[in-house]
Symmetry: C2
Amino acid sequence: MNLQLDAVGPLYEQLARALKRAILEGRWHSGQRLPATRVLARQLGISRNTVTYAYELLCAQQLAVSRHGSGTRVRAVQPVRSPWHDNPAGRPLSRYARRARELGPIKLARRHKLIRYNLLYGEPLLDPPLFNSLRTKLSAAVLRTDPNYASPAGLSSLRSAVCRYLARRRGVACMPEDVIITHGTQQALSLVARVVLDEFDPVVIEDPHYQLALHALRAHGARIHSVRTDADGIVTADLPARGVRLAYVTPACQFPSGAVMSFTRRMELLKWAAQTESWIFEDDYNGEFVFEGASLPTLRSLDTHDRVIYVGTFSKVMYPALRLGYIVSPMRLRQDLASAKYLDDLGTAALEQNALATFMENGGFDRHLRRAGAELQRRRAVLLEGLNRYAAEHIEVTNSVAGLHVVGWLRKLDYAGLERLIGHAAGKGLGLHPIHPFYEKMPPRPGLLLGFAGLWPAQLDVATRLLGRCLDEL
Amino acid sequence: MNLQLDAVGPLYEQLARALKRAILEGRWHSGQRLPATRVLARQLGISRNTVTYAYELLCAQQLAVSRHGSGTRVRAVQPVRSPWHDNPAGRPLSRYARRARELGPIKLARRHKLIRYNLLYGEPLLDPPLFNSLRTKLSAAVLRTDPNYASPAGLSSLRSAVCRYLARRRGVACMPEDVIITHGTQQALSLVARVVLDEFDPVVIEDPHYQLALHALRAHGARIHSVRTDADGIVTADLPARGVRLAYVTPACQFPSGAVMSFTRRMELLKWAAQTESWIFEDDYNGEFVFEGASLPTLRSLDTHDRVIYVGTFSKVMYPALRLGYIVSPMRLRQDLASAKYLDDLGTAALEQNALATFMENGGFDRHLRRAGAELQRRRAVLLEGLNRYAAEHIEVTNSVAGLHVVGWLRKLDYAGLERLIGHAAGKGLGLHPIHPFYEKMPPRPGLLLGFAGLWPAQLDVATRLLGRCLDEL
């Protein structure tokens, strides 16, 4: 018997595929009895269980029938005798898929078990009362939620709750009709890209930047203009004078440098957008957690030309696994963004929208924000104090008034030294993460992105002590 | 004072926008006191509350400061004196957005309150035990779910549960690595379109077809080849001989005609796909509910050339508001589809995936399917019996062995008569829905798409009696 296994996946899968091919190509006729499992196992030099499981798969696929006592037989299947040839390369994929392949495989931030003190950015603050609130809200929402398709732009209860929250805490005035509920900022960006960008259209992003935003724009086919940032945010003087369709910015807390966009730059950026007729994607991902100084008005609040697409997320203020965020749309794009959302996935699941709306409207969300803000403030203070106490001569902290991480620039090390530092720290159970991969133009000196939301104050104290020791030892 | 209101949204919003513009354009200097609310209200002839609320919005936007006793004053804002002009038309949107606009505004199937007996397709079967199970599963999932970003292709527990379910009930053999959890079939289609279709690439769809699939493909920019179907499903002889990249088909239960694709047609379609190197999008949306005859093997089970993208949804077997479905990917597209999902929204919310995985693995889902299948069988029987008893001389039921609706062709009416029938029925509280809007080529005689999942047996009996009476009266 000629059975070619393709070496992909578990052995029983390979065997089942080979048998399927033999049946469909007519090499085994209908009603023919397959070899006894013991016999085939011996012939192929594999375990009998593997053969049994492959036969079960064939039966599940309705290509064979197994009867007790009479073994497994091929079902009546019309064989196909055409000259089929496998062509594993196949037709080229879409340009989108080819561009996505060039971005490399998906990398999720890995959490090593041996790294006990991981200063990883993006770890959520775990707040037990939050989980308890969500339990009761979700449980109630199951019974309250209309099981049918909901409005693609989101439940009106949640859209209203978002408006009230934004007016109260972010100074953003908007109407429920402006709000589109999304699966986080990432979906907001892919919807916006679809609605305002054709392939090869130019887009401005900040340097440094959030990598997944860049990847989504690249895969979409945008031409990327990266514009440098300084302590006042994006350098508006460097913006291209024309042709750009969209600028992706993080004014409240530049990611990952931490700079807050100054008021002047905000006004200049808005002026530029009005003059060049570009859209501004205002990613307010961390506007809620500003720890020093007053928070500035959002671009959306300052915009008089209907040019700002304001985007918020619950990934930072609650946690990422929720996958909930929202767009506050310019009036002119409301219908287009809602259509794009509809065509993309018919709208976000109503259950969690309902639960979140209740949580926001009954004051639970505000209480959570106060608790989380206070706890983050505490953790941030421990981190900064530790850096100052144990590593002040090695590390300079800049521009970090907001967000869930601070940036520490290494005073004495070059990039080779940075690599040694990271390796040395990992050996001691301390996870360190460089900032330069987020830059297009490598900064002159190396820096660390020090996330503090995922570690307790006591852990942060140990982590900074370890960091100081590692730096001393190098 | 020159305040131009733009007549969009509530009056207080309009007023706030006009004031904002005045401030930002420097017409009011920093620190200047805004008119007393009473004065401005009188000037503009609007209520004082409206003015108060507009001032509050300005304060929320940090453009003004209100102090008790000294009124509301303009904050220090650097005015912008550039020659800004509003250009409401703006730059043209993307080609995607322009195509989406041509599709017309979003239409959700409306449920009129006065239509007591609505034979609307797509209404879910409401199953109280299902809601109770979901409550407990979701509640437990809140505490068990990793709050961080999950794998973009889905939780491995749910992907495994889907594999076992598909092997058990649909004869589909696949591995968890093949499965990508999506927000329903709609997202599955938009991911597939992105990965295999460039703008202007040709796509085959069935005539008749599910309108939102067509819309998503149109907006994506695909060129649509619509291929007719008959009682054996898509007419494979009419498939274009070359050039097509993707064929969207519903073999288990052609939507909306109800035809089951014959075994021969299945093999021919697969042969065509292999020869033309097209992908097949197998939408198995209703494969679970087959009420007459044995169910045929899925295209995915018969495919030996890795050409079938098998797609399932929980919208029909559970309910649409969940927004959960899955792709079983060909081996060659696994990574590409997972990347597309990642770039689109970073993956589906982990909470509901976790709850669903438990529900599927502890037997609750199978119990639900048995209950739902039996109840749907009962409702379907009542509908068919009623059609036979009250309307046999007017209506011929064809090709309806599966799914949540049956198709009734009107023996005696022309299209003008159909319109009169629908109007007449609505007046009696009976909702009827024609089938011809789903067709590209209008069928020679009019037909009705009769959904039965949303009505109880007793309601279905009344509905068919009403239908018979309406037909007799015309």
